[in-house]
Symmetry: C2
């Protein structure tokens, strides 16, 4: 049993991480307020529903429980799906004192959270992330959004959940490729803020790959704790929180260029982090050995280290220039001050990018 | 020159009310932070643009100023228009440190505010309300939203502006019917919280109708002050703020039943307030003379006192049961404890409504 408290004043909430928590959540004192809602709406998808929907339904026995399934995949994280969800809630006469439950990965969590932020100007929601990526990253911190054809997560809100319920055993039904994509975000935490966690990941790589429940619980807790600490200090990304976007400026461009859902988010972030490392190395802040170590780590966890075939550095520009981190007209990148310490940089020029990534052997 | 401060901690902001303020805003110290934005996007409509857009453009001389016009009318306060606006911002490469300016009435303000709440998870915005209704009500307090076919303002957010700039002289170009609709919200403040303001409105009715700048400024200031006080105590409508919905439960049903944009919002609210008064009278909290006085006041300011032809009380139910004030399955109404003092009530039954409004002679 691992616990993390996200400290945000009145919007504080608990994260509880434990094997078989989905079955045992009712025993958790942290969750006691969850069982009093009169109306509960579980938003999930056809992949997750047959596996875990009945467990979650059981938790809310006694309430008026509704379910809404949306198609699986990043390509459905759109304003159209958002509209369908709000129409469903209105048709079912869901009132403002209901609870939404996000049961699924990042798409379900981001979409449900955005619906919770906007439906009748805000109702409460619970995160039950079922992918590694959402357990370590997207379910924590209150960033919610849908994508726009011109940019990922461009329409959204900051909306904190009431609680996050994480059961690492659900990862056993996660496809290997998605587990790997989640590891990209895990590695991200090590790279941006904790070099000793980087070493720990290397040491525990076998146990992680074999999904030892204890090791996974500790790994997820360390990620959630780092994220919670950063979010507590900078909820709406005025500064430090932007460091969590390590690899994301390049990564979002990859996702958008390919069309959302072709590569997994984590895969794009993996390549993005390596590009950030390469750029940092060209500036003298990382050694080429460190870049190689990062590349080795990504490969160890079955992640890509090269951009998609055919994608040139020029293809990144249009997406990077509408990135949410753009400020005063300048692109801003999260780069490395050193391994385990990221920094926000706004003096990267097109010329420099063209030079460093001329032949794209990142 | 009248000023109101909305006290909301870090989200506090000034409301400044003065004749010719649109021309003189640069002289106001309260607005000094507004002139530093690099990108400014004015959202307005084809009715307002020819009248006031160039004045607002002049205020932001030196910035990169964009404009977006959306069609005039409540029927365009939709998720589709919201999507068009966000697409425009992305196409124009508007970054998160830009300023949106809502130049128009309640539709422009609510829509622009909701775009500001969601674009890249939130950017800043300025309210320049150009209708009486938006000057006394919708531009203050941070309620933003779009409508859904199943209910008004069902998709939205709480998003406070940076400032509210109110120039009563712009009301001279407002159609008489819209001025009257705004007076419904003015009368609402008197009815819900200040009986002496009710008397003042009667005494000043001539000066108000003739749009004396000094009298209008004072009237608008008194409304904004009441709203600011309530919002400061209850920003997200956990309690007291719901009193501002006096007349709105019935009123929204009228608007939705007719189709948004057929009646003006204020017209529907006028009838709604009279229905609330009638219901309160049947409960013994108002005298029939007081109901008559309210009816006289509404008529004096050219407002309707009867629901649309053909609308039966049964036609109200479907809309009222999905009202945002519904809590624990119960409809909640804002009724009168006495004239000048509203109260939230949740024990109104269908039977009672059928009885009081059997033949609809409100």
């Amino acid at each position: 049993m691992e616990k993390v408290a996200v400290q945000l004043g009145q919007r504080s909430y608990p994260i509880v991480i434990a094997p078989a928590l989905l079955a045992n959540a009712k025993l958790q004192p942290e969750f006691s307020a969850l069982w009093h809602y009169r109306q509960v709406i579980i938003i999930t998808n056809p992949t997750i529903a047959p596996l875990y929907l009945s467990s979650v339904r059981d938790l809310f026995a006694g309430a008026d429980v509704h379910e809404l399934q949306i198609p699986d995949g990043e390509s459905f994280k759109t304003l159209q799906t958002f509209e369908q969800a709000t129409s469903f809630l209105l048709q079912q006469k869901i009132s403002r004192d209901a609870l939404l439950v996000a049961l699924g990965g990042g798409v379900i969590g981001d979409l449900t959270g955005f619906v919770a932020a906007c439906y009748q100007r805000g109702i409460e929601f619970l995160q039950i992330p079922t992918t590694l990526l959402s357990q370590v990253d997207s379910s924590v911190g209150g960033k919610t959004a849908v994508n726009h054809p011109l940019g990922k997560n461009m329409i959204g809100a900051f909306k904190q959940p009431q609680a996050v319920l994480i059961d690492p055993l659900v990862l056993r039904t996660l496809p290997e490729r998605e587990f790997a994509a989640g590891m990209a975000e895990v590695i991200k935490y090590a790279l941006l803020g904790d070099a000793s966690f980087f070493d720990w990941l290397l040491a525990e790589s076998d146990a992680i790959t074999k999904q030892s429940p204890a090791v996974l619980s500790e790994m997820i807790r360390r990620c959630c704790q780092m994220k919670a600490d950063i979010v507590s200090r900078d909820e709406t990304e005025q500064g430090e929180r932007a460091l969590l976007n390590l690899g994301h400026t390049f990564g979002h461009a990859i996702e958008a260029w390919l069309g959302y859902g072709t590569w997994l988010h984590g895969e794009a972030v993996a390549v993005g982090m390596l590009m950030a490392a390469k750029l940092s190395a060209s500036r003298g802040d990382l050694s080429s050995e460190q870049v190689d170590t990062i590349s080795t780590m990504l490969t160890l966890f079955k992640l890509p280290v090269l951009p998609p075939a055919g994608m040139q550095i020029a293809d990144f520009f249009p997406y990077m220039k509408t990135d949410k981190k753009v400020k005063a007209g300048k692109m801003r990148f999260v780069l490395f001050e050193q391994l385990g310490q990221a920094v926000l940089v706004d003096d990267v020029t097109d010329v420099e990018l063209n030079q460093v990534f001329a032949n794209f052997h990142v």
